[in-house]
């Protein structure tokens, strides 16, 4: 295939071959599409599962409650507080002078459904497709939000830990000698720390939120990439083109990141999906134990722990299990395809 352009980037023949290799792994390709579909979909969770309508037509004007909070008085109600669109009286008011478009799932992750008619958790029904949890919240809505936070967390953590890990590995591999020796010994000690206990202790000191958890887990997750990058740099530092660059007087930093890193990136990239799935697992287990996201936040781990606490309501545990298994499998399949795509034995034909 001819070299073309994609989003302004030139597609080199090598990139083209890699794309072809990726495509050759069918399982990886559909995993990637399915994952992208679920992830991009979950980014619009507010439009899919929400207790507010996304469009209201009332008395000749349009309102978008997702973006702006309107007091009940806007629609002829009595209270100056934010409108509760699930309230039958409010619905009646709006329907009298217009209409409203509700999202597919008319519950947000925190919406407590008051008119279930039976004690929560309730099994799946036409109203709550995956049932409700023990606090009368819709499981499907919580699942969508929980999936989003898990994946976002996994990707962000992967991003930051690869930055730190690549930098650390590059420095060790490039300078070698004592730098390498001391850094490696430090990492061996650091790696020996009981990570989970430390996280639990730290989580009891600070109030855990997204960024705190990210920071705490970053303290330990950056090490996963160091080995690969270090090995690549140890190999590359003796290449003649690196020596030539040094002979030209190119600065160490520039040599590391302009001349050596692009060659080390191949090995690094294939690791990223696996790091992401590892991050998601860690977050889930923290949530399961109750040391993760703040109470009330939707998360896969919290769903699993509800499932454990309510064995009489198997839809909770099963939903959590299947979704987690799906996400992790998809990431692993994508990772396998990416590994194939960057395999030099396959690209250098």
């Amino acid at each position: 295939m001819a070299a073309g352009r994609f989003l302004g980037f030139k597609i080199t023949p090598l990139t083209r071959r890699r794309i072809d290799n990726f495509r050759a792994n069918r399982r990886g390709v559909w995993s990637l599409w399915l994952f992208l579909f679920l992830f991009v979909g979950s980014l619009f969770a507010e439009f899919i599962a929400n207790d507010k309508p996304f469009l209201v037509y009332y008395d000749g004007g349009f309102y978008m409650p997702i973006f702006e909070a309107y007091p009940e008085t806007t629609f002829g109600g009595e209270f100056p507080t934010e409108t509760d669109y699930q309230d039958a009286a409010v619905r009646q008011l709006i329907h009298d002078k217009g209409w409203m478009l509700n999202p597919l799932i008319p519950f947000s992750y925190g919406t407590i459904i008051l008119d279930l008619g039976r004690p929560a958790p309730t099994p799946p029904s036409s109203r709550n497709w995956l049932g409700t949890d023990d606090q009368a919240r819709d499981v499907l809505a919580r699942l969508i939000y929980g999936f989003r936070i898990s994946v976002l967390f996994g990707l962000t953590l992967t991003f930051f830990s690869s930055i730190v890990g690549v930098a650390a590995g590059a420095i060790q591999g490039y300078f070698g000698g004592w730098t390498d020796l001391l850094f490696q010994r430090f990492m061996e000690v650091w790696e020996g720390m009981p990570t989970l206990y430390l996280l639990i202790i730290l989580a009891s000191i600070v109030e855990p939120n997204f960024w705190w958890l990210l920071l705490l887990m970053l303290l330990f997750s950056w090490m996963s990439l160091v080995g690969v990058v270090r090995a690549e740099f140890l190999r590359a530092r003796n290449f003649d083109y690196v020596r030539a660059a040094r002979a030209l007087g190119v600065r160490n930093r520039v040599i590391m990141f302009k001349h050596m890193l692009p060659n080390a990136m191949v090995a690094t990239l294939t690791f990223l999906p696996f790091i992401t799935s590892g991050s998601i697992t860690t977050l889930t287990s923290l949530d399961f134990l109750g040391f993760g996201m703040p109470p009330g936040a939707a998360s896969l781990g919290e769903l699993l722990s509800q499932g454990k606490a309510n064995l009489q309501a198997p839809w909770l545990g099963l939903t959590g299990f299947f979704v987690l298994a799906l996400v992790l499998s998809l990431l692993v399949f994508i990772g396998e395809a990416a590994r194939d795509a960057f395999d030099p034995r396959k690209t250098l034909r």
Binding site: Y241, R243, A245, A247, L248, G249, V250, H259
Partner: protein, 348 residues
């Protein structure tokens, strides 16, 4: 200790002053008692048992390179030719000795200060494919030194790249190509063009033709010869092929396991070699014979890791006497421009 550093500081100052008034007679490069050693047997166990042992890849070698001079370094594999070349560019850190360029000692210079002198020293490596970054186009590879040393305004960069390529005998159409798209000879021309972009005073050419096809070798050798004649650059030409050295060089230094055993002008070396090793080498050349890789110098080779004090050529030497075993012969000048390290050279 303190006195020593004080005197060395004064020495540096003197050097800087000296550099300001470089005259045409000071050699471009002056290497004195250069020692480069590599640690053998890494690890804690080796260190505890007997202390680290070292391989002296370059053992107290001294020579000068004049302006516009081509110095050949010949010797077998492992004789330390390449190590000398890389040490001169500070790609290996020398253990002791000094490297003086244009009257300035760069042996212990820090990276920042060294950058300025890098312009004067360039290297062409043995394997052209590995000496160019596989992910950089020819243009990027040639642009790096121009921008780094601000050799010309950025508007002229493209023009300079074209010039450099043309000088090296390549058409500018090669600019957008990647190294894997070029042949060995073309790549070596790119590497030469890169070295020349900075208009260096000295180019270290580390066996630049040994990885090339025979048909291309002559072209590259002629390119070196032309460039040398046209721009008056000095070249240290490292090779294991005596005929190549004879064709290109003004002077030739013969190395044997880290020691420079004989250095003389080409005519002198080929007509009146004094060191028994040089003689053995020339003997193998014979009738359009093989190069040194196939050379059969009789006798047992020297073990470079062994810490011998005697002459390294002792085991093979036909002229050996007892005191050759106790101390390595010092370098003596037997004629202007002809140095030799042998006790018994008069006998030959």
């Amino acid at each position: 200790m303190w006195e020593e550093s004080a005197t060395s500081a004064a020495f540096c100052m003197a050097m800087v002053e000296k550099a300001a008034q470089v005259d045409k007679n000071t050699p471009l490069l002056s290497v004195r008692e250069l020692l480069v050693r590599f640690k053998l047997g890494d690890g804690l166990a080796a260190a505890l048992s007997r202390g680290p042992s070292y391989l002296k890849a370059v053992d107290e070698v001294s020579f000068d390179v004049g302006r516009g001079e081509v110095l050949g370094l010949v010797g077998e594999s492992g004789s330390g030719k390449t190590t000398i070349g890389k040490a001169i560019l500070r790609l290996y850190e020398p253990q002791s000795g000094s490297i003086v360029v244009n009257g300035v000692d760069i042996t212990r210079m820090g990276d920042r200060a060294l950058k300025h002198y890098r312009r004067d020293l360039q290297m062409v490596f043995q394997d052209p494919l590995s000496s160019l970054n596989p992910r950089h186009t020819v243009r990027t590879s040639l642009r790096t030194p121009l921008l780094l040393h601000k050799i010309c305004p950025s508007s002229e960069v493209e023009q300079r790249i074209d010039e450099a390529l043309t000088r090296a005998g390549l058409s500018p159409v090669f600019k957008p190509r990647y190294p894997h798209e070029l042949s060995g000879g073309q790549l070596q021309r790119v590497a030469i063009a890169r070295a020349l972009t900075m208009s260096p005073g000295l180019v270290v050419a580390d066996e630049p033709v040994s990885k090339l096809d025979v048909s291309v070798r002559a072209q590259i050798l002629n390119l070196f010869k032309d460039l040398q004649a046209k721009f008056g650059i000095s070249i240290i030409f490292i090779t294991h092929d005596l005929r190549v050295a004879r064709y290109l060089c003004h002077r030739i230094g013969v190395m044997y396991f880290g020691k420079l055993v004989e250095i003389a002008s080409v005519e002198e070396l080929f007509t009146a070699p004094k060191h028994p090793y040089t003689k053995a080498l020339l003997g193998t050349l014979g009738a359009e014979g093989e190069n040194l890789d196939g050379a059969q110098v009789a006798g047992e080779a020297f073990n470079p890791a062994a810490d011998t004090t005697g002459c390294r050529y002792y085991a093979r030497c036909p002229m050996r006497v007892d005191h050759c075993k106790t101390a390595h012969p010092p370098t003596e000048t037997i004629k202007p421009g002809h140095d030799i390290a042998c006790y018994e050279w008069r006998r030959s």
